[in-house]
């Protein structure tokens, strides 16, 4: 993830230790990467929501700052309540690592301005608890507010049961909060940032965030 932002997108990313009480003052965007926080021996992300730095992340998000959560980062955002819903065990009960097709539902800044709505992205997933779930009323709100950002689809962009890799409700692969400044997704765009290794479809997402950060920094 750091390589994608630092070396590919030249967006000067830096790591922040989870025990830090504050984010660096120059922070323009926060990315919670994938991994296994605290081993995920409890529910994924359930421990990490109590990391000291998460209070600062919440303040940053509340102030409108862009926060991206990928895989475990998405799980942490759901556990902290910055995003609605939850990630459940994959329907087949196995960890799954494979490239999937994703349909871009909303091509808005700060996370998808480089994409167009309806575009199909090929990006890998790799998780054991990636089945997105929201109760029907919540799901209806997500649909109505346009908070569904990405759905699993086939290579032609058709969303259906056959293209759902893990049992996610409504094929949801990624969602935003109502305000649109917090985005969580299970696929790993950082594994698709180089033509010869995984392709470059991940840049449609990560590049959008880098663009947004640059716009925020450039003098008006």
């Amino acid at each position: 993830m750091r390589f994608a932002f630092d070396s590919v997108l030249k967006a000067s990313a830096r790591l922040v230790w989870h025990k830090e009480p504050e984010l660096p003052p120059e922070t323009r965007a926060v990315v919670l990467p994938g991994g296994f926080s605290y081993g995920d021996y409890l529910r994924c992300g359930a421990m990490a929501q109590y990391s000291p730095v998460m209070a600062a992340v919440r303040r940053f998000a509340d102030a409108g700052g862009p926060v991206l959560g990928v895989c475990n980062g998405f799980q942490v955002l759901c556990e902290t309540g910055l995003l609605p819903g939850a990630l459940l065990r994959n329907q087949n009960l196995h960890f799954g690592c494979e490239f999937v097709n994703l349909r871009v539902e909303r091509a808005n800044p700060p996370f998808a301005s480089r994409a167009v709505a309806g575009q199909v992205l090929r990006i890998p997933i790799k998780n054991g608890e990636g089945a997105y779930f929201a109760a029907p009323p919540e799901l209806a709100r997500l649909e109505a507010n346009g908070q569904i950002a990405l759905r699993y689809c086939d290579e032609n962009g058709v969303v259906g049961e056959a293209s759902n890799p893990n049992g996610s409700v409504a094929n949801i692969a990624g969602i935003t909060n109502e305000r649109g400044n917090v985005f969580g997704l299970m696929p790993h765009p950082e594994h698709a940032v180089e033509a010869a290794i995984g392709g470059t479809d991940g840049l449609f997402l990560l590049g959008s965030l880098a663009d947004a950060v640059r716009r925020a920094d450039s003098p008006r």
């Binding site: 196995h94 494979e98 010869a196 290794i197």
Partner: protein, 752 residues
């Protein structure tokens, strides 16, 4: 003084510890007295087969371990191979067979954990895992359960520590019904000036314990579990299996690498088999020093642990290190930051003795070298198996020719051994760290080399793990040679130059002369191949006693070869990349059906001699492939192995992201079933845009090459130059059968 009572040490107790009468006498002689209970425990683990290699030493010494690229060979935690520009690859393969049979998930997980520690102990960042699995027939519910558990265990550990599992192999055979094999390989990258060794030098330097607390798990895992065969009571050995904690391991990796970036550490060693005992003795012995340990300072997870338990525990995720005197606090601070236990547990001394204190009392006082170095070296009797001639007997004329080539191909592709392993590797994170160029499913995995903690380089490392145990059973020398040749050929198929190998030698009970003969023969085969292919043995592991109630596994010398590509962007994949390419066969088709999958599956016969291995030809083939890839003459290269040409063509056609059919015409000089399904070694199927240039290059290299067809369409058509094709099948349904070979046999477990 505590009120705990130790058992009385005598010959009977020594025998219970797996020591022979002669070994016990030797111990009494070394000490000049009867050993204490913890001392007996120490000798029993240090002299166990697992730790001392007493049966195998004689043969391991004969393996070629030298080479221009070798920085550190066997004897260190892992082999270190120079890959240029100040970088080195650190790798090793190790078995975790017995624990995985008893507790598949934990056994396999801790196998991955252990091999990772061997690699990062040297200062390397672990970047890639391979796994070699062998189980009993998949129609047995026990082996369905074992497969599911082992795969989950490997995934749960490798995925969580953030090391990609990029390849491996899985086979099913009745000989593994009572003894499965789980061999885990890891490779790390290191800067050559930052290699750390297991040394305890500098008298007065502190000996520090870091990582998890010590519990009672895994006591005698090495001596009793790994160094004896299974019997009806083995299931009661559950407490000897350790429990893994990948999160702690992840923290330990990061903390150790952070520490090693300072110059505060003198030496470091993983507490693996036999835990604190083995690590401290090895470090002191390698430095010619002694160590004074205080067991009360050891972080403990349970109360009331006695010296015997503290010394022999195989609790996971622990390391022992020697720091520079006066820098204890600096070291401790790093580990505390990662929420890991850290304690000064002793000092380096100059008297060559291991003195261990517990509650103010000396409980162990023994000289280091006799324990670590003077472990027995046995010259066990060897005898050619009486029925070997019987096994090798095969009169091809009496083997009915294949009557339905298409049905044969379908049956082969649908068999668990040749079917897709996607169900397995889908459960592994193949991508983490972002450098996986060729993912599982091809001949060899290929990763891009990244400078530790820094930017990617142009270099790539290819790696493959292989063995054909049936061939080893029919002729262990040729079988072992073939394993080296195949692993190297797979690596060469990417365009990489094979550099070195690591081996995991899985065999039955060495006390039986015919098993020892198989072992001796296999090491001779490995030596011959490693010399000829210039791939020295840089690390490895021996696993004996893989037998249950007197029935041994087939000899299984698993070989992993690592190769270097100077420019990873220029590499060959194993599948046909697109239509319109010429298909060229490198190597020769011989009438060899002995030991083949076809013979086993279609004729129910495991017999004959394995195919011949022409090492000189293999070496020329490596050179040709590297040159052809570097000159961009070939787009794909696929090794012909199990199932022969027919299976290899099918894999080329459906192995990639999209299906690419092929039409192939072969010149017939041998029986057609041998041509299609024979497993002659030294062959590679190549897709080229300029066949003429490639064939010219092959001729210059002395490698037989022939244009046999072209890619395109959605069918696989294979036939003689004149006449009706033997095979004419749609590729898509073939792929479905191949993909479903494992899941369909797993029932509910197989859903994906």
């Amino acid at each position: 003084m505590s009120d705990y009572k130790e058992p009385v040490v005598d010959l009977a107790l020594a025998r219970e510890h797996g020591l022979t009468d002669a070994e016990y006498e030797c111990i009494v002689e070394i000490l000049g007295r009867t050993p204490s209970f913890p001392e007996l425990g120490i000798f029993s683990v240090m002299w166990s087969e697992h730790c001392s290699y007493k049966s195998s030493k004689k043969y391991l010494k004969t393996l070629p371990t030298q080479g221009a690229c070798v920085l550190h060979g066997p004897g260190e935690n892992a082999g270190v191979v120079d890959i240029g520009d100040g970088l080195a690859a650190v790798f090793k393969i190790e078995s975790h067979n017995h624990p995985s049979f008893i507790a598949p998930k934990q056994g396999a997980a801790t196998g991955v954990g252990g091999i990772l520690r061997d690699v990062f102990t040297m200062g390397a960042r672990p970047v890639a895992n391979l796994d070699s699995l062998r189980l009993g027939p998949l129609d047995q519910p026990l082996h369905q359960y074992l497969l599911a558990g082992v795969v989950e265990g490997i995934g749960s550990y490798g995925n969580a520590v953030g090391v990609a599992t990029v390849g491996g192999e899985t086979q099913f055979h009745a000989c593994y019904t009572g003894n499965i094999l789980v061999n885990a390989f890891n490779l790390g990258i290191i800067e050559t000036h930052k290699i750390f060794l297991a040394r305890a030098s500098g008298v007065g330097n502190p000996v520090m314990y870091v990582g998890s607390k010590t519990g009672r798990d895994g006591i005698h895992g090495a001596s009793l579990l790994a160094s004896a065969e299974f019997d009806a009571e083995s299931e009661a050995k559950l407490p000897t299996v350790q429990v893994g904690d990948p999160f702690t391991e992840k923290c330990l990796i990061e903390a150790c690498l952070e520490l090693m970036a300072t110059d505060a550490v003198v030496g470091i060693q993983d507490m693996g088999a036999a835990g604190l005992t083995c690590s401290s003795f090895e470090m002191a012995s390698l430095s010619g020093t002694g160590i004074a340990l205080d067991l009360d300072a050891v972080p403990q997870r349970e109360t009331g642990m006695i010296p015997y338990e503290l010394l022999l525990s195989e609790s996971q995720e622990r390391m022992l290190l020697v720091a520079q005197a006066g820098r204890e606090e600096e070291v401790a601070e790093i580990f505390r930051r990662w929420d890991l236990d850290v304690a000064v547990v002793g000092r380096v001394t100059d008297d060559g003795r291991m003195r261990i204190q517990w509650k103010g009392e000396t409980v162990v006082d023994i000289p280091v070298d006799p324990v670590a170095k003077s472990s027995p070296e046995l010259d066990r009797p060897v005898a050619r198996p009486a029925n070997l001639g019987e096994r090798q007997k095969l009169d091809l004329a009496s083997v009915a020719p294949e009557e339905d080539f298409e049905a044969a191909l379908c049956e082969l592709l649908d068999s668990p051994n040749l079917g897709s392993k996607e169900w397995i590797y889908r459960q592994y994170d193949q991508l983490v760290q972002g450098d996986t160029v060729i993912r599982p499913g091809g001949d060899a995995a290929l990763i891009r080399v990244r400078r530790p903690g820094g930017e990617p380089t142009a270099k790539g490392l290819a790696m493959s793990v292989d063995c054909n145990p049936r061939w080893c059973w029919l002729d262990p020398r040729v079988g072992a040679m073939a394993a080296v040749a195949e692993a190297a050929r797979n690596v060469a198929c990417t365009g990489a130059r094979p550099l070195a190998l690591t081996n995991c030698l899985n065999f039955g009970n060495p006390e039986r002369p015919e098993i020892m003969w198989e072992f001796a023969e296999a090491t001779r085969g490995i030596s011959a191949a490693a010399l000829a292919l210039e791939t020295p043995v840089v690390s490895g592991n021996v696993s004996f006693y893989n037998e249950t109630s007197g029935r041994a596994i087939y000899p299984t010398p698993t070989i992993a070869v690592v190769g270097l590509l100077e420019n990873w962007e220029r590499h060959a994949v194993s599948h046909f990349p697109r239509p319109g390419l010429a298909i060229v066969l490198l190597g020769e088709n011989r009438e060899e059906l002995g030991g083949s999958e076809w013979l086993a599956l279609r004729r129910g016969l495991e017999a004959g001699l394995p195919p011949i291995v022409d090492l000189e030809h293999e070496k020329r083939l490596h050179g040709l492939l590297a040159a052809a890839v570097a000159r961009d003459l070939i787009h794909s290269a696929h090794d012909v192995s199990d199932g022969g040409l027919a299976v290899a063509f099918a894999e080329c056609a459906f192995g990639g992201p999209r299906l690419v059919g092929a039409t192939v015409r072969l010149s017939v000089g041998i029986r057609p079933d041998a041509l299609l399904f024979g497993e002659s070694t030294g062959r590679v199927i190549v897709a080229a845009s300029d066949a003429k240039a490639l064939i010219e290059l092959a001729q210059q290299s002395g490698v037989p090459a022939e244009c046999i067809g072209e890619t395109g369409g959605d069918r696989l058509t294979v036939g003689p130059i004149e006449g009706e094709p033997w095979l004419d099948l749609e590729v898509a349904p073939l792929r479905e059968r191949w993909r479903d070979a494992i899941p369909r046999r797993l029932g509910g477990l197989g859903e994906s």
